[in-house]
């Protein structure tokens, strides 16, 4: 159990001629909430994709809980919450249906839910305070509620690692508070949470640690240190940390 949840070692990813990640390294211990901070195009999403095995790194290696990512995925340890823009909100699914998809890895090939699955879904919905909205079609929710559906899916999945891409964009204050509570509670029970965000205000309350990204991890420390203006300047100026 003392293995780190995530070990990203010297990972480089290219899309054609574009370098998305240049020898990025990051280690996150279990039970921590880590915020990836950086501009659009700084490689946050690509790092997630590398962790999830959605892109194949040109160099480097990813290990999850001390094993290779494919094994980790097959045992349902990795869950992710997509950016709102990438989800089709007109899709004919109810909140309950999406959360139940978190259980598919544990079901038989027909994906019929058993009592244990229904209990897990109900508990997950309760944790993110969506029980009353379970029968709603997913498009009939507010921005914050939409995010919480996917967090609930990760909880129902019993994933040990939760990746959230921009969880606070388009989210009202109340939902942000609920989400922060839920994620803190996750970490307190031994789960690992990584969020990619450019919303710096949320980071103080939520994260145990922060990693500043600009094609690679240029700083990984406490949120207080990372969020110092002189450090942020490294990642948030267009020509800042690119050169060495």
């Amino acid at each position: 159990m003392s293995e780190p949840a995530v070990e990203v070692m010297d990972v480089s990813v290219r899309y054609g001629d574009v370098v998305a990640l240049d020898s990025a390294s990051l280690v996150v211990e279990t039970g921590r909430v880590c915020a990836l901070i950086g501009m659009n195009g700084s490689g946050k999403s690509t790092l997630f994709k590398a962790v999830m095995g959605l892109v194949r790194p040109r160099t480097g290696q990813v290990r999850l809980f001390g094993t290779d990512p494919a094994t980790s995925r097959r045992s349902g340890e990795v869950a992710y919450v997509p950016q709102a823009e990438t989800v089709d909100w007109t899709f004919p699914l109810r909140v309950r249906d999406v959360v139940a998809m978190g259980r598919y890895g544990r079901m038989s090939a027909l994906r019929r839910s058993r009592p244990a699955d229904r209990t897990a879904v109900a508990q997950a919905l309760h944790q993110v305070e969506l029980t009353e909205l379970a029968e709603r079609q997913i498009g009939e929710l507010s921005g914050g509620q939409r995010k919480r559906v996917f967090v609930a899916r990760g909880i129902a999945q019993e994933a040990r690692l939760l990746l959230l891409d921009e969880p606070f964009s388009g989210v009202d204050k109340r939902s942000e508070a609920t989400m922060t509570d839920v994620l803190r509670e996750r970490a307190a029970t031994g789960h690992t949470v990584i969020i990619a965000t450019h919303d710096l205000t949320a980071v103080h309350e939520l994260a145990d640690e922060a990693a500043l990204m600009h094609k690679r991890v240029i700083m990984h420390a406490s949120p207080r240190d990372v969020l110092r203006p002189e450090n942020l300047a490294l990642a948030f100026t267009p020509s800042g940390a690119g050169q060495e």
């Binding site: 999830m52 095995g53 959605l54 494919a70 995925r73 097959r74 045992s75 349902g76 990795v78 869950a79 992710y80 997509p82 989800v87 089709d88 899709f91 004919p92 699914l93 109810r94 249906d97 999406v98 998809m101 598919y104 890895g105 027909l110 994906r111 079609q137 498009g139 899916r153 999945q157």
Partner: protein, 287 residues
């Protein structure tokens, strides 16, 4: 009235036509639910047109038409994927290039094939001339395809909604994609027997689009779409029988008319929305 309904059934030809059209409509409708949600309508169009050379070659070689059609359907899917992923060309352009080229190849093959067969039947369907072999193939493929679709329905919905989540669970989205495209090719093989190569695409788009307007629950879509398609199959064939019009045309036309009817008058349809927004505006009159 009873006579009106029973009369067409006295003919063996019409019985076969009803069976083939019903099977094609139902399997097409089930598949269409995923195609319209993923946004693969153009893919349906591509596969259905691209099978033409396969059907002609099967005829020349004396093989079952289903084999030729299926082979070229798969070839089209593979070519589109390859062109898209190994060049700068975007997906819609890759689809456009591949299926028109294959369709053109089919037309050329028709002109250089010496035969007594009227290849217009392939283009526009020949549901009134279905042979025993054709009937047997359609029923077998249709039942098998429907069975697999319903068996894998949850996984296909997972793939359509969030392939990355499937991947995160260790369920291969690539395999589900290949499965769905294979089932598309098989469905087209069935549909072209009923309505021909040109209109086959309608059967794998329209029922799903109509059902999508009527419900926001996937399980209900999977019931509503085949039900509506079956009704349209029967209505279309009656119209064809009594109006002496093309059966393929009549069946697809009835699907299209039903779509627009639903589009206008469904609970969330255009008429209701315009009406409620008007009423809303006049309702908020100053006190």
């Amino acid at each position: 009235m009873i006579e009106f309904l029973v009369d067409p059934w006295q003919f063996d030809v019409m019985q076969r036509a009803f069976l083939v059209t019903a099977v094609a409509s139902v399997v097409g409708a089930i598949l269409s639910c995923w195609l319209v949600l993923i946004g693969w309508s153009l893919m349906g169009d591509a596969v259905s047109h691209a099978v033409l050379p396969g059907v002609v070659l099967a005829y020349v070689l004396g093989a079952p038409f289903a084999v030729g059609a299926f082979a070229f359907g798969c070839l089209a899917v593979w070519l589109i994927g390859t062109v898209r992923s190994t060049s700068k060309v975007k997906e819609d352009a890759a689809i456009g290039v591949v299926f028109t080229t294959l369709f053109a190849l089919g037309l050329v093959l028709i002109s250089i094939t010496p035969s007594q067969v009227d290849f217009n039947h392939i283009l526009f369907g020949n549901v009134l001339g279905v042979t025993d072999t054709d009937l047997w193939q359609v029923v077998m493929i249709g039942v098998l395809t429907s069975f697999v679709l319903l068996l894998k329905n949850r996984d296909l919905t997972l793939y359509a909604f969030d392939p990355d989540h499937a991947h995160a669970l260790g369920i291969s989205p690539r395999k589900l994609q290949i499965l769905l495209l294979t089932l598309l090719a098989l469905t087209v093989v069935v549909a072209l027997q009923a309505v021909g190569v040109i209109l086959a695409v309608a059967m794998v788009i329209i029922p799903g689009a109509t059902a999508f307007l009527l419900t926001n629950r996937m399980e209900r879509m999977l019931v509503v779409a085949p039900l509506l398609a079956a009704v349209c199959a029967v209505a279309g064939l009656y119209y064809s029988y009594y109006g002496d019009v093309s059966p393929g045309g009549a069946v697809v036309l009835s699907q299209g008319v039903l779509f627009f009817a639903v589009y206008l008058v469904a609970p969330r349809g255009v008429i209701v929305r315009v009406w409620t927004s008007r009423r809303g505006r006049t309702g908020v009159s100053p006190a």
